[in-house]
């Protein structure tokens, strides 16, 4: 059985499907969205994550690094990244967890053990496990095995996906998935390419394939002002949702500004408009727009 490359397991996750859930974040994503909030989920390989505010400048990381690379308080550079072997020695030496390895191989059994810890909370709240990422279908063999192991123990399973994966992988995973949280970012393909780096054709085809299976789906739309919050896109999205009977609702997820360090990371020539968080009023308008098409909708979820 393959081991999964897991970069976080978050208990008490309450916005990723129904009830109280445990979210398992798998590394690797085929998209490169301009607004990505989880850049550490994009690469399939382990990486070193630095939280400068936690650094006390003790220098223990420098002392143990085989390349004398990490320097306390310093922002990363491409040069560092090139030399870093991600051996994890600096993270192990760091007393404050300012340096952490993101991504560690875990067996299905190890993941299930953590997931089962909050079983009592799932029972009461109608929760369960949500596999997210990154894009969990990037590790579809591991994902399927982990879902199967959870489902066979009576745990409700959800998969939070960007939708881009070979259809056979998706359908295989669907057999052991109770609910899909399926991102539909925008319907216009050229815009999709521009902001996420990929076409949405396969994504939309996958959505329909799941629909044909009668798979329960919550369609999720990250609302990015100036990128996909126009009436045309939202209405088209709502109509798409309405055309697939097993889409139970459309979840509108308001974008929030992320800070400089995230966008700097991008090396593609994409200029996002000057982004702001949508106001509650704006979100409410969009919600009503979607509902007007006759689809159940929510803000968040």
């Amino acid at each position: 059985m393959p081991r999964g490359q897991v970069f976080n397991i978050q208990r008490f996750s309450v916005h990723d499907g129904p009830g109280i859930r445990t979210a398992v974040f798998l590394k690797g994503c085929p998209l490169d969205c301009a607004w990505c909030h989880n850049p550490e989920g994009i690469s399939p390989r382990p990486e070193i994550l630095m939280t400068p505010s936690r650094c006390i400048g003790c220098g223990e990381c420098v002392a143990v690094c085989p390349h004398d690379l990490p320097i306390p308080h310093r922002s990363p550079s491409a040069e560092d990244a090139e030399h870093c072997l991600v051996c994890g020695a600096c993270a192990e030496a760091c007393p404050t967890e300012a340096r952490q390895v993101v991504g560690r191989p875990m067996s299905v059994g190890e993941v299930v053990e953590v997931v089962l810890k909050d079983r009592i909370f799932y029972d009461d709240s109608g929760g369960g496990v949500t596999f997210s990422g990154g894009e969990p279908l990037q590790q579809s063999g591991f994902l399927r095995a982990a879902l199967e192991a959870c489902q066979s123990r009576g745990i409700h399973t959800a998969v939070d996906t960007c939708g881009l994966a070979p259809e056979e992988d998706l359908l295989s995973v669907a057999e052991v998935t109770d609910l899909f949280l399926f991102d539909v970012k925008m319907l216009d393909d050229s815009r999709h390419r521009r902001y996420t780096g990929v076409s949405n054709r396969q994504i939309l085809a996958n959505l329909k394939a799941l629909g044909r299976r009668g798979q329960r789906i919550w369609m999720r739309v990250p609302v990015i002002p100036g990128v996909n919050d126009d009436a045309e896109n939202l209405e088209a999205t709502a109509e798409l949702a309405a055309s697939i009977p097993s889409v139970e609702r459309v979840c509108l997820l308001p974008y929030h500004p992320l800070g400089e360090s995230k966008s700097k990371r991008l090396d593609r020539d994409v200029s996002l408009p000057d982004l702001h968080a949508p106001t509650p009023g704006e979100m409410q308008n969009l919600l009503e727009m979607v509902e007007a098409v006759g689809v159940a909708a929510s803000i968040g979820g």
Partner: protein
Amino acid sequence: MNDRTRRLRQQSLDAMPSISSERAELLTDFYQEHLGRHSVPVLRAMSFFHLCQNKTLYLGEEELIVGERGPSPKAVPTYPELTCHSLEDLRILDSRPKTSYQVPEHCLEAYESRVIPYWQGRSLRDQIFAALPREWHEAYEAGIFTEFMEQRAPGHTVLDDKIYSKGMLGFKQDIAESLACLDFAEDPQAQEKCEALRAMDIACDAVILFAERHAELAEDRAAAEQDPQRRAELEKIAEVCRRVPAREPRDFHEALQYYWFCHLAVITELNGWDAFNPGHLDQHLLPFFEQGLEEGTLTRESARELLEAFFVKFNNHPAPPKVGVTAAESGTYTDFANINIGGLLEDGSDGSNEISHTLLDIVDEMHLLQPSSNIQLSRKTPDALLERALRVIRKGYGFPSIFNADTVIEEQLRQGKSLEDARAGGCSGCVEVGAFGKEAYILTGYFNLPKVLELALHDGCDPKTQQQLGPETGEAASFVTFDDLFDAFDRQLRHFIDLKIRGNQIIESIYARQMPAPFLSVLIDDCIAEGRDYNAGGARYNNTFIQAVGIGTITDSLAAIKELVYDKGTTGLDELLAILDRNFQDQEPLRHRLIHRTHKYGNDDDYADELMRRVFQSAFEAIDGRPTAKGGTYRLEMLPTTCHVYFGSVTGATADGRRDGQPVSEGISPVQGSDRSGPTAVLKSAGKMDHVKTGGTLLNMKFSPSLLAGEEGIGNLSHLVRSYFKMDGHHVQFNVVDAELLRQAQADPAGHRDLIVRVAGYSDYFCDLSTELQEEIIARTEHGSFSQAEARAGQADRQDKVLVG
């Protein structure tokens, strides 16, 4: 709130706590004349009668429920027979920055000329301290334990439904029957019982007289009143006070006023801990409420107005002034009356009703410091009540707290109570469990677990003073295995529990002999039937608690030592102790490693949680089941009030990375800031404790307001609570405030006078807390929500993360 309630509430909020010497003066006069002329119980009852007969009455404009303990709202009497404050004590009370009491010049004069000369050396506190052995004093001064009864009487009890169907005349009849049954020929204790019963009889008369004086005052006021509506109200008050407490109440108003007279009487007779408490108020009032509505003599509005007037009365009564260590362990104006909402009926069915919801509405709208309130949540309690309570909690005042009614019952069954008595019981004070109306359940003092570990690591010697306080249980270097170390801890623990209990036996017998509580005995079964006072074991059940503090700190310390010294062997115990003794000087990286990189209780990590269970079991075995001086049983309790700050101040640096003098963990909550795996993990860790074996545990959780927003937020919190209670969790309470607001309040106390936060088993004004306690509350982990959606919201901590390799 209507305009009247708003005004009464504002008057209560505006009144400044002050000391009244009236009670001390009346009592001194009485004792000077009567001491030695009566048996102790009769003397106590007569002195109580003297107080009821002579104390200044207060009947405020617009009041509906009447009676004050002092001459006016928030004027607090003193109890020199228990603790005789020195002039210095009084000056400190007057001038200390937190929880001060204004001390009028007249009070100082009365103390100097009459009260101190008579009581100095005679007060119970003086007698108790003189009687306790030297080792006890040494341990007490080192901060290993505190002592509740050194300046306040045993109390901690709650009333059941008995007064709603029986007046004081009825109780007098019960007393007469009990007296008639005394067998002087065969029962060697008959004379003692006779004196106890005579005292109870006098106490009943005293309370009837007290009410009649109020009736007369109301009649006088009515005669002079111009406003016909107020005149009618005063006439009604007079009528009520003529009726109760002499006879059983006939309506809603009389029921509330009857309880209030009992409350005043209990807290006037002695200064028992936790004042007094009506218990299941919603259940008790329901028949009067329904009858009033049916007869048309009561409306929902008038019932609510009376309840609000009743609530204001509690807020008018700050705790009697505490000094010394007791002020440190319980530094608050709150006197812990804690109204139970919901719960079960004696037949096991759901006990919540319409008044339960009304009480929550009142708590929500009035947000007074007192009374505290809690909901007793059973499997059978409707979700609607929990959700209503959570909507109040979400506003951030810290109340109501939530108890697991099913576990509360199971705990009591384990203690041997009948099922019916257990169901009619509930919680009072902070989190203490008792059979209402039938039990003396007494907190005797906090117990400093981390300090005991410190002694075990120093061969029984206190590193603060170099004094040998405990037995020599071996140099740290001699601990070859972790079990050796734990065994030394266990022996120190037993030694100090033994010492604590030895002290308690002395104190309990002094109270039993010298400080009976005849009026309280009238109210608590089976004091009348047994002819025995509450303080002498007359109650049906007698449980005495020792409250262990710092379970989080000691668990994390043991986990760090076990991992670094015994499992990994990266650090020697001697080396670690030397670092602790130097308070981590020049060892910041190691201190951070201890904080961030070792196993911590509160993260559902079995490595740490197993150690928590082991410490808990040791404390349980050392305490539970041991006999008390008055025929009761010792039990373990897990609550701190504000003692975790005091205990921290006397405990050196600990192996969990805590610096010398910092607060230890509170209740059964994880060490402040160490619970990093979210709220479900905290609840799982806490759920591994065997709550049923305790008399109460206290768990604090702090949530960011955004987590609890919307219907979904209420749903999430509701599921967390229900799930914790499935694990037999005893109690949980929530602070829903963000750290930023608390920082603002620190910077601008004047602008945040009304900010109420949860401390331990009670809420308090944030600005009234000591700076150390304010910092401790800010340091508690604030649980937000964790999800992609929230991550999109750009959590502050995530923002500055960058990938470096």
